[in-house]
Each structure stands twice: as C-alpha cells, then as structure tokens.
Amino acid sequence: MTGFLAAIVALTLCGLLLSAIPYVRSLDVAARLAVAFAGGMLLASALMFALAALHGSWSRALLCGSLVPLAVVGIILFVRGRPALPVACRLWPVAFFLPIIITAIGVFTGRETCSDLIHFWGPKGIHFWIARTIDTDFLGYTFYFLMHPDYPPMLPLVYAWGATMAHHFSWWGAIALTPILLLATAAAFRGIAARAIGGPAANRQALLLASVLALAFEIGPVAGVGEPPIVLFVTIAVAALTFAPDDRGAMLLASLMLAAAAFTKVEGAAFAVVILAVFLVTRRRIAAPLLMAIVPAILLGGWFFFAKKHGLLDAYAAREHIHLRVLPEVFKGMLREASYGTYYLPWLALIAVMAFGAHNWRRAALPLLVTAGTTAAIVFFYLHSTDPSFWIASSATRVLLVPLASFAVATAAMSE
C-alpha cells in the first residue's frame, strides 16, 4: 500500500508547477500543497491520456522522465514563493485534524469503502496499469457496459499511475486516499478563504467544511471512488471564484479545477457548465467564463473523441428521454437521501452558521447559485430514468456532495 499511495501523493511535486500562478503563490503553504496535489493528479492523468491517445504505452521511465522536470520546476517555484499569509491561529490544526482522523478510522475499518471501487473504478485502474495504456478492449467488452466505457478516466489513470510506479495495485491504498483528499480539500479551502476573510475566520469555516464532509463521506460511503477527488476540485474552483472573482490567477486555477472535475466524473462537466453560467450572470462578464471553459473543453473534448474513435460512447451518447412523471419520485428520493440519515445534519449545520453570521449575500451569490444549479443538474440526470428509485438510493448521498461542498463555501462567504 505504501508505495502505491506514496506515488500518488508524490504527484504533489509536479503539481507545484501551479505555483507559477501568482494567485496560488499568494496562498499559505498548506493551501499551496493541497492545490498542488489536485494539479499534480490533473497533470499526470492528462499526460497519460495524451500518451494513450497517441498510441503510446506508459512506462516508469517515460512517465517519470516527463513529470520529474515539471516537479523540479515546481519545487523551485514553490521554494521561491513566499506565503502571503501566516498561519493565524496556532491551535487550529488540533481541531482541524479531528474530522480527518475520524475519516481515516472509518476508512481503515472498511466502513467507508464504496462498492463502486471494487466493481468499476479499481478494475479500470488495474486494467489500465496492466495494459500500460487506456485499455479500450476491456472498456469496450460487451459484458462490461455497466462500467460505462466512456466514463471520464481521471481516477483510474491516477490509480494506474500509482500501480505503475509501485509495481502493484493496492485496494487499501485506493481507499487510504480518502482522508488525504479530505485534508487537501479543507487546507485548500482554508488558504483560499483566508485571503478574503482572514485566518481565524477561515480556520473556523475550514473546520466546519471538513466536519460536514467527513460526516457525508461516512454516510456516502465514498472511499476509493470519484467523489473525494471531485469534491477537492469543486471546492477549490468555487472558493477561488467566490473569494477572488476578479483575480486572473484565481480564474486560471478555477479553469484547471473545472477540467479536473470534468475529467473525473460525468457530473463534473455539469458542474463546470453551471459555475461558468453562474459566473457569467453574477459578474456580468462574458470573456472570462469563455476563457475559463477552454481547458475543460479541450480535455473533455479530447476524451469524447477518443471514446468515439474506439466505439466507447455510452453515457455521453445517451438518447434517453426525460420522464417528467417521475419528478415527484425524484424529489422524494433526493430529499430522503439528502438527510444523510442524520436529519439533514450537514445542511443544518451550515444553515445555522449562515443564520447567525453576517449576511453577505453578494459574495455568497455565486456558491449559492452553484449549489442550486448542481442540485438541479442532479434532478435532470435522474429524470432520464423511468424508474430512478434504485439509482437515487445508490448514488444520491454521493452526488449531493458537490452541492454540499459548494454550500459550505457559501456559508463561509456569507457569514464572515
């Protein structure tokens, strides 16, 4: 497990290349490392996809030879950049690590393992690793259609990276990523928020975010699947555009995170469309959202054409009609699952903080509208099934994590 996990975490080094963005350089060290982890996963998976698309196969030498120079440049940029904000409160890490530790306990006792890891995500990663490329024969095999052959490949590619470097795939390593990703999510959010609302307030809100996500991760359950990484990408993108909406570096960072989200899960593309539309409406700027759409469009477009070329189109070519008659059933099911079996505790905790804090509606408009928009997108997806009850019961607690993370950012934006 150690080698597999260490190889994936080491992607942070090449992700330090994002320190070239002045906005990222202005964040505190923990946030820069967290952003680098997200960026490293994006860089490595984009490289592996490009090699697969060019009919090249992966090897340790080729991958390391491509990524190590990036890591060297990244480390230089990271070392040269001085954090703009010191850690404001020395006590914050103590409380901050509690939800992470609880998540780690949940993960290592197997309680948070999602069955989709052993059904879909893990097998894809293993087959990519063994084939040393994106195994289109495996993805396209008739009997494996439930794996959705055209599903965005980022997480299996990250797993294949870890397995290639460690010479083995680790199921434990895959689930062990969950607390690390949660830590990265909270640290990135804290650093981004601290620039706007100050260190102590950012500490409080980061603790709230980590606690809420830890609870939802437990109920999900989400260990080993696409939700922990997509929550990291979503949180960084929403927080950057909420707390630094006029900063070009924040927009570039958000664009990269949108690409990562769209390359991780199908709903990541919906999230990208929603947040760019909301940015257009709330900031009344046309050029910026269009520019931010370029990287996600290139990456997802590349994947779409790759899938089309190899006859893998499935989810992206679905022609199922909307069934409005199931709308009441969808609402009921989503309401039931949104409670997370705790009487809506994650949502109520955020609403309570929102109610007792300041009321900066203007700053919170973007994340609030993203919360509403991504929830509507989830409803839209469910409406494409004639009988969505099983689908909702088996996935809603996980897909609602994107609106939940966005709502947590809204709480911080409004309350402080």
Partner: protein
C-alpha cells in the same frame, strides 16, 4: 484470498465465470464485476455464460464457484479450496 489462488491455475486470457451457485446452477450476482479487478489477466464473463442456454463455443472455459458446488455436467471439477471450487469446461464440449 481465493481468486488470486485460482489466477495461477487458469491460463491467461481464458474466459472465466465467477459466481455463487444457487441450487447448483449459475446465478447472477455481484461477483462478476468484482472478479474483473481480481483476475485482470483473464476474460471475465457473466454467470449466464456457464449455463446450458449458451451455445457451446461461447461457454465460459472456466467456472469459479464461490462457497457452493456447481451442478453442471458440462464442467468438471479441477480443484477444491476452502472458499469454493474451480471447474473447467469438459474437453468433449
């Protein structure tokens, strides 16, 4: 524990059906997808591919029966393990 052991017995690339038999017959359960990750060097096929309803050339070459025995004359027992049994499609097929 079980599948990595049979992985060393079954030739690479062979078609394999993995399931827990019910009344000795093939049964559609979640083991099929799990096996795709645990036997990555083999071609995992659904349990129905080990049934009589499937034409002989398309039948699974091997069956991994979890816990309970398989009752199908088309397959011969190759090995027994604490967690199940390994069967091979009879040569006469």
């Amino acid at each position: 524990v079980f599948l990595p052991q049979v992985a060393n017995v079954i030739p690479r690339g062979a078609t394999v059906a993995v399931f827990k038999p019910v009344d000795g017959k093939s049964h559609d359960d979640g083991a099929f997808f799990v096996a795709t990750g645990l036997l990555p060097r083999h071609r995992i096929v659904p349990p129905m591919m080990a049934s009589d309803a499937v034409a002989v050339p398309d039948r699974a070459e091997w069956v991994v029966a979890l816990t309970d025995p398989l009752d199908n004359p088309n397959y011969e027992l190759v090995a027994k393990y604490p967690e199940g049994r390994l069967y091979k499609l009879r040569a006469a097929q």
